[in-house]
């Protein structure tokens, strides 16, 4: 076995054990305090606002396939979708969901079907509530299709969650014209930079991946945030040590 493979295995086992230990600690009542996040606070208000105003929510799940590298980004997007759909479907104000990937289409439809089933309203579910726009390899076509959906009616909120790229301003512009509240949650640095001027709330990078902890707060999700903090601290120490060693060698 190669040294790199051994190192990766060691890292996975170590972090896996760390996650399990922290989850056990959280389950036993270990307190985990999350800092209030303006993006998630705004997101949680959207269902109530939609019900009050009578203007539904548009959610776009991006174009990151569940079978590729964007899997974690899209899983986090599905967590946010589930949270929003639970509230809005129970109040008879279902969201319209658009996506640029086939696997996300099926996962999104499944989420909405389950939410309606849990709300004891299975007959109200329609597969057309989740709409496929274009394949993930055609970002501009996906943005054009999604913009057209946003332009069709008055929306209370235009929520973009998942993997986006440089096509994001085209969808945001349609949301701005519709005067919808715009919430962007993605981990793509280019999309984040392009979305900043128009977004009412922005969920940036790793915060997007922490959606489960903020919205559901299950022990494993909270424990993984603690593990992230520990790993981050170790990385900071490693960077400082490496810099110090570099300086000493150069002297």
């Amino acid at each position: 076995m190669e040294l790199t493979t051994l190192a990766i295995l060691f890292f996975i086992i170590l972090t896996g054990a760390g996650l399990m230990a922290l989850t056990y600690r959280t389950q036993k009542g270990g307190a985990v305090k999350l800092r209030p996040h303006p993006g998630y606070l705004t997101l949680q208000k959207q269902v109530g606002q939609a019900v009050e105003s009578g203007q539904p929510i548009h959610i776009s799940l991006g174009r990151g396939s569940l079978s590729g590298r964007a899997n974690p980004t899209s899983v986090a997007a599905l967590t946010i979708l589930n949270h929003l759909a639970e509230g809005s479907c129970a109040n008879g104000m279902p969201p319209t969901v658009t996506t640029g990937d086939g696997t996300l289409l099926l996962a999104g439809q499944d989420q909405l079907r389950q939410v309606y089933h849990q709300a004891h309203r299975p007959a109200e579910y329609q597969p057309g509530m989740v709409q496929f726009q274009a394949s993930s390899s055609d970002p501009i076509t996906y943005a054009a299709g999604t913009s057209q959906v946003v332009n069709q009616q008055a929306w209370g909120s235009n929520i973009l969650i998942g993997q986006f790229g440089q096509e994001i301003p085209l969808i945001i512009e349609a949301g701005s014209r519709a005067q919808a509240e715009q919430i962007i949650s993605t981990d793509d640095p280019i999309a984040l930079a392009l979305a900043y001027p128009s977004a009412h709330a922005l969920i940036i990078g790793e915060e997007h991946l922490a959606a489960g902890a903020y919205l559901n707060g299950q022990p494993a999700q909270l424990a993984s945030l603690q593990l992230q903090d520990i790993l981050r601290l170790l990385i900071i120490i490693a960077i400082l040590l490496a810099t110090l060693m570099g300086l000493l060698v150069s002297l």
Binding site: S67, A76, L105, Q114, L170
Partner: protein
Amino acid sequence: MKNSLPTAFALVFGLLTLVGLLLIPGLAQLILGWAGFLAACALLLGLGNLFLIHSRRAIRANPYSLTLIGAMLAVILIGLADMLALTDGNTAQQLFQYLQQPLETAFSSLLAFFLLFAGFRLFQQRRDRWAGLFIIVVIILLIPLPAAGANLFNPLRALISALFVTAGLRGLLIGIALGTITLSLRLLTGSERPYSK
């Protein structure tokens, strides 16, 4: 049972893929090949979804949906004609080259204008320190154009780009990597189940 079956299925294949990627590359390739096939099937279902939704709108004489359905059918027919050697075999490719690509490029070129308008809106709506900082940074980054006084800003621009932008981006990417690792671990241990509530 109904809920635990997808979880068990996902756990077994997740762990098998991980083991395969590290120790048995052939196994990983096989499972990833299956995943790719399923993703292709999902894409076909997506196209079916697109066709059905726009067919309903086309019945109500929605011009965009009529155009989409017409274009979809035309491309399928041209593809079939290419396959059956009724054309020179290159018509579908030419259609993309001379119609789709220029349209996409034209649409992409609007990005700069959208960003400009967004910048104006930002300054109108949020006159706080962050909006001010954003506008200043954008102006400084756009200055490498050969204009009077540009040389004065070039060192500042280089400093912002090399120090603050690179450091910020690296911090963001390290955070994303850590988030990805912990989310992947949750998926592999079955504590995150987006497919089964």
